[in-house]
Symmetry: C2
Subunit: 171 residues, 2 copies
């Protein structure tokens, strides 16, 4: 918290400079938010209309798709960056609907292994294909040769934020 306020540059226009920097960073944040919510809203709508599904449910299946032997439940909150409590009812419903199974581990009865069913995998693959096509359609107008550059910049943003958070955590 103290960082931004208490390490002013040598310039004499500290306040103005800080204001300008704030505005630039805020602008970036607003653009990020606008792009994400625009795309997210449309993906949400299509998942609902075409598959009667939600994105969080899809995200869980996506994590399981590459783990044929299943996944420890505790891995999901980390990978999906959501809270553990949030996942309980989502996983519950995926089990009810027959897309995944949930089995207690024999070695540690606190731990549960979740695993995609054959039916779940089939459904997921179908949705994943649509998901890719929807994104390609929505982003079609953005020149393909700029995609990698943008992804790289976003990776750098992500790294910068992560570092800032870690730094803060150690304090």
């Amino acid at each position: 918290m103290a960082l931004a306020k208490e390490s002013p540059p040598a310039s004499s226009k500290n306040a103005a400079d800080a204001e300008a920097a704030y505005r630039a960073h805020t602008r970036l944040w607003l653009r990020l938010l606008a792009c994400t919510s625009l795309i997210e809203g449309e993906l949400r709508r299509r998942f609902r209309e075409e598959y009667d599904f939600t994105m969080p449910r899809f995200d869980v299946l996506a994590q399981l798709d590459r783990e044929p032997s299943g996944l420890v439940l505790g891995e999901l909150p980390k990978r999906l960056m959501v809270s553990a409590g949030n996942l309980t009812p989502i996983v519950d419903r995926l089990v009810e609907d027959g897309y995944i199974t949930r089995t207690p581990s024999n070695l540690d009865r606190r731990v549960q292994i979740i695993c995609m069913t054959v039916e779940g995998r089939k459904t997921f693959r179908r949705m994943a294909k649509s998901h890719g096509a929807w994104l390609a359609e929505l982003l079609a107008e953005f020149p393909e040769n700029r995609l990698d550059g943008l992804v790289g910049a976003l990776d750098d943003v992500k790294g910068a934020v992560r570092n800032a958070l870690q730094h803060r955590e150690r304090t």
Copy 2:
């Protein structure tokens, strides 16, 4: 929906090309989502811890800050890109807490004008300053001279998606 599937390029490797394009677009989407949720989570945490406030409430005040004469309630869903029903309880609570006022219009009794109170404005300004500083802190490691380029790219993404949505709407 048909677009991505039924307008293949002249190349002979249609399926593979499409898959590769899907992956590139999906990668961009995942990065966008990661950056946004990383920053959003941290901003949410700080709003709660330092001001016992939430981002949606802050967003409403931000819209009102530049409208000294108040705003028609119906403008908010458009500007904030959220549903009208969602705003009702948020506005209710901001009124209860004394940050804004809500007055029925004399000309059209369906319409309500909302307006920030003096107290609301004071609180908002304080929070807005922190908000800017938080973002500057989180993004500090990202080189400033790349900010504008990234913002420009995101503007192009936004425009591309908007066009794709309009295009779809007319269909």
